[in-house]
Amino acid sequence: MRRAAAVLSVVLVSAPILIASSTAVVGLGALALLLCWLGILVATPVLVSGMVLALGEYALALWLSGGPPRLAGAALLGVVLLVLLETADLGRRAHGATLGPGVLAAQMRACIVVAALTGTGALAASAAAIVASTALRLPWAPVIAAAGVAVTLVAVAFALCARRPPRA
């Protein structure tokens, strides 16, 4: 489980290097990989910081390369992020435990289904966004995007708080 997570983290940090293989990107990628591996072994927060750094590396690579948006690659990278996080978490839970028959197979099946669904969903959402953006030209687009991000995060936070059981 941990090996699979380690391989996924290599995939995560090497994707931006394929886009722009500058020294800064490679350096940032190496640091992100180190944090990811450490996080897989030690604790999830360290892994999260490694993944955030990998996102930064991706942003830097995109900024350096310029060019048209690569949405399919981005959706694939998103799927890698999701699967890496869940695999590392399961690896942490399974470490030092007896695994019953069929646990790994069931988890793998679920992971493949989720990866396919979320990847397809992300692609569909981005396609819809492209169609909407060509049909509708909004002034102050960056401000609207920032507002959209803020609304999304607040909505997620509210949704999660609503699911939390009441304190005794």
Binding site: W63, A97, V103, A110, A129, P165
Partner: protein, 425 residues
């Protein structure tokens, strides 16, 4: 069972937030698209249920009664009436048990009607009644975003008896009882050990005639035999205090020695009793046989240090528990002076008394970091013990100093010599 969100949700939200912020600040849509799968993944919360409780647990032990050092296989059977996504089970082990093989935590996925067996092996490191008791269960959803926890009490009583140390020779009692046993009594009667020769009187059996003596003196003589009798042995265990680190404390050593003496004397058909001195007395009346051995081992299982200000006199122990003819073997590290007072009292009452003292010094040395100060303290302690032992010996009490790392049999051999001399070391 109440479901709650796991820290993994916070991790997902953190990455999503960073992705969105980076996307907006860099003006690249790819970063927003990259975190979309994570956002969509959050939609699974509550869909893959953790509310299912259609599963049952059963625990079985390979042996309910074992000796120290034995291994026990714990088998937990998980049966599901409904599909179970991911069930995590954890069985905390008490300090008297050590995991020998397998894991005491397990993850299981079950289909409806399926049942899974989970096995692990534990080693029993210390005597006592062990209750495996509560099993903690955590039901995860597939993604690990939500979990529900519960604790289930399952019967799992394990009795770990002290392992008897090997003993071939035991201190012989000076006084016998009326029942048949393995000791040659001074009194004459039926037996196989030849005693005195006397003139034949009507009623003597022909097979007892000593033909060699009869031919020499031209008169019939018979050989008399010594009776073979048993004895009463009372083990007196000092549970006032203990020294050293578990599972190698003075009390552990004392209990192992008591178990060995119990098994040894009962095998010789003697009656064995037990008095536990923990301030007040707790006792098991002398008896013999297999069932009585179980009773004594059960009492040894319970033996533990119990702090008490109460100090009872030996005179309070009934005669049926402490028969006047009994051999009393007191097992004590000689740390608490109350026990010494009880020993002096017993000796003054004319009991055949042997003190077996498991030395606390090597046990404490093993548990502490070596230093010059510890060496000095141990030397002073050894001198103090020596002074106490001398004081007991001056009162005619046989004293046996026993290093628990050494074989018990060698120490008890010293006891026999000391009792013969009348002064023991």
């Amino acid at each position: 069972m109440t479901a709650r969100l796991t820290p993994l949700v916070l991790s997902v939200v953190t990455i999503v937030a960073w992705g969105l912020v980076l996307g907006v600040s860099s003006g690249r849509a790819e970063l927003v698209v990259a975190v979309l799968p994570l956002l969509l993944g959050l939609l699974r919360i509550g869909r893959t249920g953790t509310a299912a409780n259609g599963w049952t647990l059963a625990r079985a032990l390979s042996a309910p009664r074992v000796f120290e050092g034995d291994r026990v296989t714990v088998t937990v059977t998980v049966s599901a009436a409904q599909p179970v996504m991911l069930l995590e089970l954890f069985e905390p082990l008490p300090p008297t048990l050590r995991l020998a093989s397998g894991h005491n935590r397990g993850l299981f996925t079950l289909r409806a009607g399926e049942s899974v067996e989970w096995r692990y092996e534990v080693e029993c490191v210390r005597r006592g009644r062990v209750n495996l008791g509560t099993l903690h269960a955590r039901l995860w959803d597939r993604a690990g975003l939500q979990a529900a926890e519960t604790s289930i009490g399952l019967p799992g009583q394990l009795r770990v008896y002290p392992r008897p140390l090997p003993l071939r020779r035991l201190p012989a009692p000076r006084r016998m009882q009326a029942f048949v046993g393995n000791y040659v009594a001074p009194s004459l009667g039926e037996g196989i050990e030849p005693g005195d020769i006397r003139a034949f009187v009507p009623g003597d059996r022909v097979r007892h005639v000593n033909w060699r003596a009869s031919l020499r003196f031209r008169q019939l003589f018979v050989t008399q035999h010594h009776q073979e009798r048993n004895a009463d042995v009372v083990l007196m265990l000092d549970t006032l205090t203990e020294a050293g680190a578990a599972p190698a404390t003075t009390l552990d050593a004392s209990v192992r020695a008591a178990a060995a003496l119990t098994a040894g004397y009962l095998a010789r058909k003697d009656r064995v009793g037990l008095i536990e001195y923990c301030g007040p007395f707790r006792w098991v009346r002398p008896g013999s046989g297999r069932a009585h051995q179980e009773r004594l081992f059960e009492a040894l299982l319970r033996a533990d240090v119990m702090f008490s200000y109460v100090t009872q006199e030996v005179a309070l122990v009934p005669r049926r528990v402490l028969p006047p003819q009994a051999l009393v073997i007191a097992i004590s590290p000689l740390i608490d002076p109350r026990f010494e007072k009880a020993l002096v009292d017993l000796a003054a009452r004319g009991f055949d008394l042997v003190v077996l003292s498991p030395s606390p010094i090597p046990l404490v040395r093993r548990a502490t970091r070596p230093s010059a100060r510890a060496d000095l303290a141990c030397r002073l302690w050894a001198l103090e013990r020596r002074a106490r032992a001398d004081a007991l010996q001056r009162r005619g009490i046989a004293f046996v100093d026993w290093d628990p790392a050494e074989p018990l049999e060698a120490a008890l051999g010293g006891a026999s010599r000391a009792r013969r001399r009348g002064v023991a070391r």
